[in-house]
Amino acid sequence: MNLLFGGLALGAVYALLAIGVVLIFRASGVVNFAQGELMMVSAYVYVFVSQHFSTPLLQLGVALSAGLLGGLLCYCVAHILLPTGSKIAQVIGTLAILILLQASARYLFTDVPLRAEVWIFGDRNVDLFGNSLPINSIMILGITLISTVAIFYWQGLTLYGRAVRAVAEDEWRAALCGIHVKSTLAVSWAVGGMLAGLAGILISPLIGVFPTMGDSILLPALIGAVMGGFSSILGGLIGGLALGLIQTYATVFFGGSMKEVITFLIFIAVMLWRPTGLFTVQRSRKV
């Protein structure tokens, strides 16, 4: 049970990043490689705020704001500073932000991790199903599921969420319908950044806060997103959770040094079986 919840907690963090990447990709067609660094920045902000203020909502609000601002920064670079006609240039723009943020953090804080306190509940265990489980793991899983439901509600049942989906499907037709494309895109990036900020608060007490923490979380998150189907939010969730479980159980059965090998073997097998991901149906059209 501890293994299961540990794997799900890890996978939930992957899922948060994966959903953020999928949201941004669906809206703008750009893979945000700086998503992990937005998580890192939010984690640093969370550490410093929690050292001075003990109010959980304030800690959450400031860290989410850092993620939101980071998302808007990425939007500005990708859609305002760089030629919008070239997707490659926009992707490279996000890579530039990745390098900038990571190098800045390394210069300011070096690679020595900072300690982060567990948000709200502290570092305690709770008895569940006859097992003593870290309350933080349960909280991570719960918050991820709630966030995913909130994203579904937003995109499915609110007017603005439908506008975001419309822009994602066809910018030109959405503009014809009176939807302000640029602000809609900015909102998608901002929400993606906030999800990264949320991931930063949740994962930092487990692994510490250090400049390259984004790398170690984003790559599995991207793999999870691809496995789940890169344009599906549900796919991002399931893919992230599955990857967390795969990594945890691969460590147990094959050893820590084989973890990545097993993970990628399973990833390749899934891609061979379902090239478009587990939750994306390949569209065909009549010609």
């Binding site: 300690r115 870290p134 510490g208 390259t212 945890t248 460590t251 973890k259």
Partner: protein, 397 residues
């Protein structure tokens, strides 16, 4: 006449070239150039950043007193990124391009071991301060010396003896990362623990991993008396809380790489009663009294630039080793050559600690004594056991 002039010019040019060729690389009338390769970037950057602080302080102190025999010390730093190819590139740059007198190896084992054949071929003095891989001292090389850190064989023996004598474990769970010092050290310590009667199980991980749920649950199932962690300080800071959070109450011991204040800082209460080791002396870096207090004050006095989370344990180790090099240079007098330098290391460095000799009485006497001989270039065999109490490492008596 023309022929006479031509031969005169040719002779003069030859004499000039001969004189130039016989000058010692890295040595002028006013300075001695010492090359340093270290990890200023990458996962082991805290090692290099800390090392640079210690080197800078020693340099400042020595040069403030006029240098050595009228020559100031100049250090050329090259980032080896903690990688094998980075080490090779850095070493070649320091020797071939920058013509340094001696190279001070302040990198990890990963960046140090690959350059050993290069130094063996070129004969340039190579003073290794931090790498503990057995290959550093496994083969005797005339021009290679090991200062602050010992080899995994020597350390492993000390650590295994400490664990066996103090805890008498029946079951030991070892966590091994993918760093060079872990790959070489774990099998040695495992064998010695098994010789002491313990059942030992090894659980691997990759340095930089952030989640250890799998390994921790396996360790919990194994139910050890002692958990022995081999890795980097950053790994230790993450592993300790995850071990304690899983309800594992075993004694936790870490290899000397985990003997860093950042481990206790990051791990918080999980680091209480955590044992580790360090080869920097009997007084740990966060003890602000005595010689260490003097050393910490010197950093302020000379306004040494300190990146975040420095100084650290590597700062004191490199500080002590720079003085060892300085002493060998001083003993050579004005006729400083590489051969004289190495001969002095071999024959005159016997229990040397800067700050305890008249010539260096302005230095802080931190670090274990260094002793070399013509057949033994392992300068320090001492290891101090530490225990974390209240977030501070204290020596185990």
């Amino acid at each position: 006449m023309k022929t006479f002039r031509f031969f005169s010019a040719f002779s003069l040019l030859s004499l000039f070239n001969l004189a130039f060729a016989q000058s010692v690389p890295g040595v002028t009338d006013t300075e001695v150039k010492i090359g340093v390769h270290l990890s200023l970037s990458g996962p082991a950057s805290f090692v290099g950043q800390g090392a640079k602080v210690g080197i800078a302080l020693a340099q400042a102190e020595i040069n403030a007193k006029g240098g050595i025999n009228g020559r100031k010390l100049v250090f050329n730093f090259v980032d080896d990124r903690g990688s094998p190819d980075g080490g090779v590139t850095a070493a070649r740059k320091l020797v071939d391009e920058e013509n340094t007198f001696v190279v001070l190896g302040s990198g990890t084992s990963s960046s140090t071991v690959p350059v050993l054949p290069y130094f063996e071929r070129n004969g340039v003095p190579y003073y290794v301060s931090l790498a503990s891989d057995p290959q550093v001292m496994g083969k005797f090389r005339r021009n290679v010396y090991s200062g602050a850190t010992s080899t995994q064989i020597v350390w492993g023996t000390s650590m295994a003896k400490f664990v066996n004598d103090n805890f008498k474990p029946k079951r030991v769970a070892m966590m091994q990362c993918d760093q060079a010092h872990c790959i070489s050290g774990v099998p040695l310590v495992k064998g010695m623990l098994q010789t002491g009667g313990a059942e030992v199980s090894v659980f691997t991980y990759n340095s930089g991993d952030t989640d250890f749920t799998g390994q921790v649950q396996q360790i919990k199932s194994f139910n050890p008396d002692v958990v022995f962690i081999y890795g980097l300080a950053a790994d230790g800071g993450r592993i300790l809380p995850q071990v304690r959070r899983a309800g594992i109450n075993a004694i936790i011991v870490g290899d000397p790489a985990l003997g860093d204040p950042s481990v206790a800082r990051v791990a918080g209460s999980a680091a209480e009663n955590f044992y580790t080791f360090w080869s920097g002396g009997t007084q740990f870096i966060d003890d602000k009294s005595g010689p260490m207090g003097q050393w910490l004050n010197a950093l302020d006095k000379f306004s040494i630039e300190r990146p975040a989370n420095t100084p650290n344990t590597y700062s004191t180790m490199l500080y002590a080793d720079v003085y060892v090099i300085a002493e060998a240079i001083r003993l050579a007098g004005k006729n400083l050559t590489r051969d004289a330098f190495m001969t002095n290391l071999d024959t005159k460095i016997n229990g040397f600690v800067a700050g305890k000799t008249p010539e260096w009485n302005f230095a802080s006497p931190v670090g274990f004594p260094r002793t070399f001989s013509p057949t033994d270039h392992l300068g320090n065999r001492s290891l101090q056991a530490l225990i974390s109490v209240g977030g501070v490492f204290k020596p185990v008596k």
